[in-house]
């Protein structure tokens, strides 16, 4: 072993040890889809990403108890709600039981003169009071009067009723035995909100585990608890991705080893072939971990593809080693082709590295570093490590002689052109349903969980939280005042049936300004008594009935102002937190809208309102736009990557015709792959684009190897063997991915399978000499 070889080996071993040490200490895998997402570019997207990661919606846990009779379900619902609320892991647990939240009701009643928008001076004049009392009289006669009769002596102007109507406006599930149940009484329903944010998956997982454990303690025989919600979906997705990534890597490794064993018929080269891929994977993962922190599960799963491709490089080396030739000389001989193959793949990955989509940047890093390190190991390390006798038993060519493609080869260029044009036409025909920009389809949650989620949501009548109005202001008071000014617009929208309803922080926490105005509208005790006297004249109320009203108004005139602390410890506190939050610059008040039926009219009214700080956000539209934006960016980078590759191939080959012969099958393979995916009914996502870049890299490798000047028939036979072995190993990796349950991974697998098959066929058709 020469001195140079020894230095190379020591460097390599040092690198592996360093990477291993780093990964042992720092590797953490994230599976949060939010972390895979690009940073927000607009204020609306900022709100969106925040909501996705940490908003109320992300903290919801929907629960259904099934498998017992209605009464037993109700009992279990009550016990579970109590147990979970006491556990401290949940901000709120709601099951519809009206006796559980009596504290909120009492507070709302006590604060009615500060909270009700109906508190105006006119309402407390003699005429105003008389009108109110006449209204109450009619209500007393109505069957609905039963509900308000008890509070009438203290609240003859119906302020509490006004507040309660506002708060309970949304649709509510039916009650069975005093708690929420589905209409058929077969499922008791609960909604909880975790204390931990939605992106804290460990906390989400432990909250779900806690719910199941507490339920197991109190469950009636046969009953079971089913959980759904965004947090749980993310937790499940993490488990799926981790299992998928591990399985895909193992399966692809096993498949690759089998293919190599068939080619080399000796254990040494098979084992040594795994070294570059393993070193590349280790170095790539370390690079991602150093640059980005947590490594995304999807990035790791891409490792399977990396293995499939990195294993091809030793194959080139070993296959091309002539009998008796030292491997170092073989390495020097095939070095330029190998280098070009690696550089072109890296070029494709470079495009991803530049993406502002963090997930793509991670993939790019993994590929560049992984492929680069694998190539170096093949070039410098393998020749030194491989024993001289190791390759004696290797196959010299394909086990069959005839090349089925020979009759077609003469018309090769025409066939490739025809196929490419056909594919391009098919893609053009699909151009308006080419892309899938729905963020939800990237979510790796299993479909059963998504189905349960939407079923529970339907039964609960939970708002889908798609539409929001965000009000931004410098101070909390200003944000509250701006939302209060918005009430008129929103009330008009409700009256016109553009929206079903809305919620806002100012309902629970009116601005100081509004509170002062309301307080000023309340008359002094003596004046109020006098006016009430006038108002009740001729009405059938018993004298003295309204004494509690007089006392409560007087108390309200002297009470402390309502502030955020007023609600501490009640179910309203978390609701308030979610509706009013301190942002980077100032405060944001969120106004969630339910049942939005006329977006244009609503947007028109909001524009006419003319407050720049008010922003209507359609979360789904924003999410789609966000994805579409990054898809467009990726497409540009993709084109940039292709251009780099073309320049690189030309620079390497210095021959226009040869360059064309190398590029054409790669591009045609990409076109055919897209056309096949579309014809099979899929739509393309960013993930498909990434996989296509890989396909192009693979196809270029084949084309480069096929177009090397071959000395004789023996070398041509070797080339055939090399490319076939390379295709098979890549296919192994892709097949492993296509069997995953994570949609993203499946998409990569299917794309690479199609691409590899096309690339092999087309390269064979266009090769310089018969193959």
């Amino acid at each position: 072993m020469t001195r140079g070889a020894r230095v190379t080996l020591s460097l390599w071993i040092f690198l592996l040890l360093a990477c291993g040490a780093w990964l042992l200490r720092h590797l953490s895998v994230s599976t949060d889809l939010g972390g895979f997402l690009p940073p927000a570019a607009t204020p609306a997207q900022e709100v969106l990403v925040d909501q996705l990661r940490a908003g109320v919606a992300a903290r919801l846990v929907l629960m259904g108890i099934e498998g017992a009779d209605s009464a037993a379900l109700a009992g279990a619902s009550r016990q579970l709600a109590q147990s979970l609320e006491a556990s401290g892991a949940f901000e709120t647990v709601a099951n519809g039981d009206p006796t559980r939240h009596s504290r909120e009701g009492e507070l709302l009643f006590a604060l009615r003169y500060a909270l009700s928008p109906g508190v105006q001076a006119q309402r407390f004049s003699a005429q105003g009071l008389r009108a109110a009392l006449q209204e109450e009289l009619q209500l007393l006669a109505s069957p609905l009067g039963l509900l308000t009769r008890r509070s009438l002596p203290a609240d003859p102007t119906g302020e509490f009723r006004r507040i309660a109507t506002q708060l309970g406006g949304a649709t509510v599930p039916a009650l069975g035995h005093g708690v929420w149940q589905s209409a058929d009484g077969k499922r008791a329903l609960l909604v909880a909100q975790t204390r931990a944010p939605g992106f804290d998956l460990d906390a989400q997982a432990s909250a779900a585990g806690l719910a199941q454990a507490r339920f197991a303690e109190l469950a009636p025989a046969g009953a079971r608890l089913r959980l759904a919600g965004p947090g749980l979906a993310a937790v499940t997705a993490r488990a799926t991705i981790e299992a998928d990534a591990l399985r895909a890597t193992l399966i692809s490794l096993a498949g690759v080893l089998l293919v190599l064993a068939a080619v080399y018929r000796s254990p040494w080269p098979v084992l040594l072939s795994a070294l570059p891929a393993a070193s590349g994977m280790l170095a790539g993962a370390t690079a991602v971990s150093v640059l980005f922190g947590p490594v995304h599960g999807i990035t790791l799963a891409f490792g399977a593809v990396l293995v499939g491709e990195a294993v091809d490089y030793p194959t080139y080396l070993y296959a091309h080693a002539a009998r008796g030739e030292p491997l170092t000389r073989t390495a020097a001989r095939i070095g330029p082709t190998l280098g070009l193959a690696i550089l072109t793949t890296a070029c494709g990955a470079l495009a991803m590295l530049l993406s502002s989509f963090r997930g793509l940047a991670q993939l790019g890093t993994l590929l560049i570093v992984g492929i680069g390190v694998s190539g170096l190991v093949v070039w410098r390390v393998l020749p030194v490590l491989t024993p001289a006798h190791a390759l004696r038993a290797k196959a010299r060519g394909l086990p069959f002689r005839a090349s089925p493609l020979s009759p077609w080869r003469k018309r090769g260029p025409w066939l490739v052109a025809l196929a490419a044009i056909g594919a391009a036409l098919l893609i053009a025909a699909h151009r308006d349903r080419l892309w899938d920009d729905d963020l939800a389809n990237l979510s790796p949650a299993p479909p059963e969980l998504k189905a349960l989620d939407s079923e529970l949501r339907n039964q609960l009548g939970a708002p889908d939280l798609r539409h929001l109005v965000a009000v931004r202001a410098a101070t909390r008071e200003a944000a509250l005042q701006a939302s209060e000014r918005l009430v008129a617009v929103l009330e008009r929208a409700v009256a016109a049936d553009w929206i079903g309803g809305y919620d806002m922080a100012a309902r629970y926490l009116p601005s100081r300004h509004a509170q002062e105005q309301r307080r000023a509208a309340l008359p002094e005790a003596a004046a109020l008594a006098e006016r009430l006297q006038q108002a009740t004249r001729g009405l059938p109320f018993r004298p003295g009935v309204f004494a509690p009203f007089l006392a409560d108004v007087e108390r309200a005139r002297r009470a402390a102002w309502v502030d955020a602390d007023t609600w501490r410890g009640t179910a309203i506190a978390p609701r308030l937190d979610s509706l009013l939050a301190q942002a980077d610059r100032g405060w944001v008040a969120l106004v969630p809208l339910t049942a939005v039926r006329n977006v244009e009219a609503l947007d028109g009214a909001l524009r006419a309102h003319g407050d720049d700080a008010v922003l209507h956000i359609d979360l789904k539209r924003e999410a789609d736009a966000l994805v579409a934006g990054y898809r467009r960016e990726s497409l540009q980078l993709f084109a940039f990557g292709l251009a780099c590759i073309a320049v690189l191939v030309f620079a390497g080959l210095r021959d226009g015709k040869a360059t064309l012969r190398v590029l054409a099958p790669a591009l045609a393979a990409a076109l055919l792959t897209v056309a096949t995916l579309l014809a099979a009914g899929s739509r393309l996502t960013i993930v498909h684009l990434v996989a296509l870049l890989l396909v192009i890299g693979v196809a270029l490798n084949y084309a480069l190897v096929f177009n090397r000047r071959a000395a004789d028939e023996a070398e041509r036979a070797l080339t055939r063997l090399t490319v076939l072995a390379a295709s098979l190993t890549t296919l192994c990796a892709a097949l492993a991915l296509s069997a995953c349950s994570t949609p993203v991974l499946r998409a990569i697998g299917v794309t690479v399978i199609c691409g590899t098959l096309y690339a092999f066929l087309l390269c064979a058709l266009l090769a310089r000499k018969p193959v």
């Binding site: 209605s70 519809g96 039981d97 009206p98 006796t99 009619q138 007393l140 006669a141 109505s142 069957p143 609905l144 039963l146 509900l147 009769r149 008890r150 009438l152 002596p153 309970g168 649709t171 509510v172 599930p173 039916a174 009650l175 069975g176 035995h177 005093g178 929420w180 209409a183 009484g185 009548g461 059938p540 109320f541 018993r542 009935v545």
Partner: protein, 191 residues
């Protein structure tokens, strides 16, 4: 021993209702469930502690299977309440107002609505979801006593008593926790 039994049997024969064939809750529900549409005039008298004199209302009631109930007040003011499925809407023509609520959001009202609607529907399951149900009397003069089960209804209503003959309801009495009470007298119209 045998003599006692015979005496008891004879005594039982003189109780009203027992004279007729066995009359059970399911039989009553079955009879009620056979009526597709019922229409009636009602007079409602409500005694409230808040008021010096009772309130008296008149109007019409109309039930259409399976779950639509209309209560139209004609005097002393006009108001229509329509309950259909799980929503209740209140129409007040004098003020040109129309409001609609989900019944589930008003547990006490829900229980009250079901006392009449589920009885008219002959839906014992729905009735028993809200009340403990007891039947007394015979086919031509029965009394159905409903005691609210859950907290929502029980806080306000203590009992609902429906009286009827065959598949008709003739009188309803609502007894409330606060000592208030309402009596509704019903005269059926020909459908």
């Amino acid at each position: 021993m045998r003599r006692v039994a015979i005496a008891l049997l004879l005594a039982a024969c003189h109780l009203p209702g027992a004279a007729q064939e066995a009359f059970s809750l399911p039989a009553l529900m079955q009879a009620l469930a056979a009526v597709p549409v019922a229409q009636a005039r009602f007079t409602e008298v409500r005694h409230l502690r808040l008021l010096r004199a009772p309130l008296e209302l008149q109007g019409t009631l109309r039930y259409v299977r399976p779950d639509r109930l209309e209560r139209r007040v004609q005097s002393p003011y006009e108001e229509t309440i329509v309950i259909e499925g799980n929503r209740v809407s209140v129409d007040d023509p004098a003020r040109g107002e129309r409001r609609s609520y989900a019944l589930a959001s008003l547990p006490a009202a829900y229980a009250m609505v079901e006392s009449l609607r589920a009885t008219l529907a002959g839906d014992l399951v729905a009735l028993e979801r809200h009340y403990e149900v007891r039947l007394a009397g015979g086919r031509e003069a029965w009394t159905l006593s409903l005691t609210p089960r859950d907290a929502g209804g029980a806080g306000l209503l203590t009992e609902v008593r429906l009286q009827g003959a065959a598949a008709r309801i003739t009188r309803i009495e609502y007894l409330e926790a606060a000592g208030d009470r309402t009596t509704v007298t019903i005269r059926e119209l020909q459908p």
